[in-house]
Structures are given as C-alpha cells and as structure tokens.
C-alpha cells in the first residue's frame, strides 16, 4: 500500500518546549487515520507541520513524496483542512466564503459555481447561502467549515474535531461522508477527535499521543492484542458459585472473579471460551448467559493515559 504521509523522527519545539518528540509513522493512502490525545498532546501541531505551516525543529515529513518545508504550497493544493475553530469570514455570506477559498485553490470559475451549489446543498445550507455567516448558528458554521474543507475534493482531508457542535443527524451524515470519501474515492482522511467512539467506528488505524509522544499506533485489532492481555467473559449463573479455583487453574484462563451470580473470567483468547463453559457445566453450574466483553478503544486510551500518569508508559 502506498503512503500518503511519511513522518520520520519528527520533533517540534516552541520556545525550547517540545510539542512533538521523535515521532515516526506513516499514513496510508485511502485509509482513515485517527490521531487521539488530550488537549496539548500535539494533534493540531501535527496537522500544521504536515501542511507546511511550521518548519520542524528536527526530522522530516513527506506528503505524496513532497517535502513539507520545500513544497508546502503544492501539498496544500492537495489537502483540505477543517480547523479547530470554524475560521469563517463572518461578514461574508456562505457562498462568498466558499468561492473565496475555491479561487485560492485555483478552481475554474464555472466548476466553482457548480461545486459551491452542490456542497451547500449537501450540507443543507443552500437556503441560507446568501446570508452573512455571522448570523449562523454554531452548528451551521461547523457545517460550512466542513463544506469548505471538502470543496476541492482534497486527496487528504484533515479533520480537527469534525462533529463538535453538530446535532446527531448531522454527525451521522458527516460520518457517512467521511467513510464514502475514503472508501469510494481512495482519499485519505486524517482525523483528530476527542470522540473515541467516532475514531473506533471510522478509523482504519489509530495513533494515540500524549505530550507529543506516540503511545500507540495500529488498527483496533492490533491495539487490542498489544494492550489487552486476554478477553473478559461475563458468565451469568442461576446460583452463585462458591469458588473459582477450578476455573482459575484452567489452561488459558488469566483471571477469575465472583460478582454475585456472575463470574468474570479473563481468558487469553476466544478459543478458551467453549472450554470454560464446558468446565462450568461439568461443575453443575447452571449457565444462563455468556457474554465476551469487547475491549473498546476507550479502554485502551484511558489505560495508556493512566500508564503515562503513573510513569509506566
């Protein structure tokens, strides 16, 4: 698979304080890549560096084999960025905002007119396209800022908190749009979000940052394997068990706890679950239900952030 972005040994300082420290990773062409981390982790700085707005203190970034420092303008020609704040011209209308940015991207006037109408329609702004943006609601401004980022059909779309201040319907719509951009057009989406479920739902791969350092990188499956030793299984019984000692001795069982009529068992892999059920039945336990607990991105994220705070990671 081709790489859209290659980051090598990237560090960036502001007044001798490291905002990013020695990062190396690639973003593949056509994937949805999510960058997660608390405020100040370095997410926005990363987007600015990739787009050539900053010169890295050390290391290098290439976008479609173009160096971010030397070819910033050419790189930005192929990217669209939804900034953290909507950054719209509030004294201009929505249509004037889009046409201004379209012209700066060199879009031919006829195409720009057509595309502006299409995108205003898509984001349900066409009826109010000729009103000044200053009178828009927060949600409308966010939709317009998204429209601006999508306007030029960018090959890489950077989205910094794309669904903040959107209602559930619009959020759903944006999620579908992000998926379609990536799946159909083979375009790359670089997503910075605080919504972990959003990243889990949309992203092919996830990177977790903390204070400019990369804590984890991989697909959801890879992260689960890397950071969660085993799967938790919740077994509900008709009668409470007195002891889990026979379960704990089973091959593949890492941990077992009694919680009233339930037992929670941590197994090394899914294949252990049938043997666990068989063992319980053999012990005359009356099994009502067996629920393997899926590890969420949220579990991994908070575990990593806690590890950092405790000095483990």
């Amino acid at each position: 698979m081709q790489h859209a972005i290659v980051i090598e040994n990237l560090s960036h300082c502001f007044n001798s304080r490291y905002a990013l420290k020695d990062l190396s990773y690639e973003v593949r062409q056509g994937e949805i890549f999510a960058l997660l981390g608390p405020n100040g982790a370095g997410k926005t700085t990363t987007i600015r560096l990739i787009n050539g707005l900053y010169t890295p203190t050390a290391g290098s970034i290439s976008v479609f084999s173009m160096d971010s420092v030397r070819h910033g303008s050419q790189i930005r020609q192929q990217t669209g960025v939804l900034t953290e704040t909507s950054a719209l011209y509030e004294r201009l209308t929505a249509r004037e905002n889009l046409r201004f940015f379209g012209r700066l991207y060199g879009m031919p006037e006829s195409l720009l007119l057509k595309r502006t109408d299409e995108i205003l329609e898509f984001f349900a702004l066409k009826n109010r396209a000729d009103e000044r943006v200053g009178v828009y609601s927060k949600g409308m401004k966010q939709r317009l800022a998204l429209a601006r980022a999508f306007l030029t059909h960018p090959r890489i779309l950077f989205l910094d908190e794309p669904t903040s201040s959107l209602d559930p319907e619009s959020t759903q719509q944006v999620h579908e749009l992000i998926e379609s951009i990536s799946r159909q057009d083979e375009n790359t989406v670089f997503l910075c979000t605080h919504h972990l479920e959003e990243a889990e739902r949309l992203a092919d791969r996830v990177a977790i940052l903390h204070s400019g350092r990369l804590l984890a990188l991989g697909s959801m499956d890879e992260l689960k394997r890397q950071f969660n030793h085993g799967i938790w299984v919740e077994v509900e019984l008709l009668q409470p068990m007195e002891s889990t000692s026979s379960i704990s001795l089973m091959r593949g069982v890492v941990n077992a706890q009694i919680e009233g009529r339930k037992i929670r068992v941590q197994v090394a892999e899914e294949a252990v679950i049938p043997a666990l059920v068989a063992q319980l039945v053999a012990q005359k336990a009356q099994v009502m239900s067996v629920k393997p607990q899926q590890v969420s991105l949220e579990d991994i994220y908070f575990k990593l952030q806690a590890d950092v705070r405790e000095g483990v990671a």
Binding site: N51, L53, T83
Partner: protein, 276 residues
Amino acid sequence: MNWKSIFTIARKDIKEASQNKAVWLPIVIVPAIFVLIMPAALILGFSTAATAIENPMSDPDFAMFLDRMPAFMTELIRGLDERQSAIMLLLGYLFAPFFLIMPLMFSTVIAAESFAGERERKTIEALLYTPATDAELFTGKVLAGFIPAVLITLVSFAAYTIVLNAMAYPRMGRLWFPLPSWYPLVLWISPAISLLGIAFTVLISVKTQTFMGAYQTSGSLVLVVLALLAGQATGVIYLSVLVGLLIGMVLLVIDAVLMYFAVRIFNRDKLLVTSG
C-alpha cells in the same frame, strides 16, 4: 507569484473592510470634512468677509507668513487681491498636507483590519492552509490597503478640485486649481505615504493582536504629516514641486526598509506562533 490569488485576497479584504463600520466611517467622514465642508466654508467666509478684521490677510501671524514666503509663492499671488490671495494660500497651499493625512489614514485602517483584524477573529489559520504562498498573502493584503487608499485620495482630490474651482469662481474669475505642487503631492507622495502606513501597521500587528489596537498605534504616524503641516505654517518648509519630489523619494526609501522587515515577519511560522 500567482496574481489571481493576490487579487482574490485583496478583493476579499476590501469587501470585509467595507462591511466594518469602524473602517468605512472615517473613510467617509474625513474626506467630507477636508474636501467639502471646510473648503466650502472657508471660501464662503473669505468671499463674504466685510471688514479687514474678518479678513485673514490682516492677521499678524499670517502677515509674518507672507513676509517669509519664498519667491515661487509670491509669484502665485502676484496681482491678486487680499481675498483671492487668502483663498489661494490657505486652500491651495496650507491645505495640502490634509491630502497626506487621508491616504495615511485610509491605508492604516484597512491594513489594521486586514492584518491584525484577521488574526483577532482567528480566520487567519484557514487562510494559511490554502496553497497561497506567504509572498502572495502579504502582497494581497498590502494591495487591499494600498488600492483603496490611493483611489479614494484621487477621488477626493478630484472632488476638492471641483469644489475649489466652482465655489471660488465668482471671486477668482478663472479655474485656478490644482497648483503645480499638488501633482507630486497626490501622484507621488500620497502613494508613498500609503505604503508607509501599511508597512508600519504590519510591523505593529505582530505585537498588537486587535484591529483597534493596531489602528490606534499606527495613527501615531499622522504626527509625521502634522510636522509637515506645522513646518509649512511656520515657514520652515515649503511644499514646492521639487520639495514634494524629494519628500516622496525619502518616503519610498523608508517604505522599502520597513517593507523588508514586514516581509520577514510575515510568514506562517511566526503568524501562527504569535496568534497562539
């Protein structure tokens, strides 16, 4: 340099500025006062002055000014009566520096809106993510201040010419304005001083985060023009054609130096760091 991008930026900035009352109000009011109201009132006053006391030519300070006048100015008023001389010297000579205050004010107010205002409203980041280079962004924003400042000054000059000739015609009996020294003033010094205002505002905008802050600080440049005004009134300096050309030249050299520093500080790295 992509000139289409440059003019797109300039057009957008002018449009935004035109919708800000704090920008367009002084652009309308100041020329209205200097170009229409004051000249009309003065001509009417001189034309209808009944006594010598009301006549400015009999004022002792003015008499001193007349004594010190260089030959080219004495030549201007040769053969004119007292009232005609007063109109010519006041409106054709002493009023000239107002036509430097106007371009300076127009260029600084629009530049403050364009450079500091954009950062104040946090719209600069979206602009920096476009393919426009730093040089194109800078040039577009400079033109956004420069073009309206020069155009409005020229329009004001045309209006001033009409007002002076039309209202003073009964007293002067001929079309007497513009005087030769006005051509270098309007076509040479005025663009140079517009650039001075813009370059100064760009430099100030790095430290001053708000439109109003940048505009007020750059307003101190008016002192340069006031010095010229005072110099003329006290007879220290006389704005002849040659002096006008020299002043324009000096201003352009200062512009070049200030623009050099302005260009150096106007880059994405610094703009984003200082805008937080």
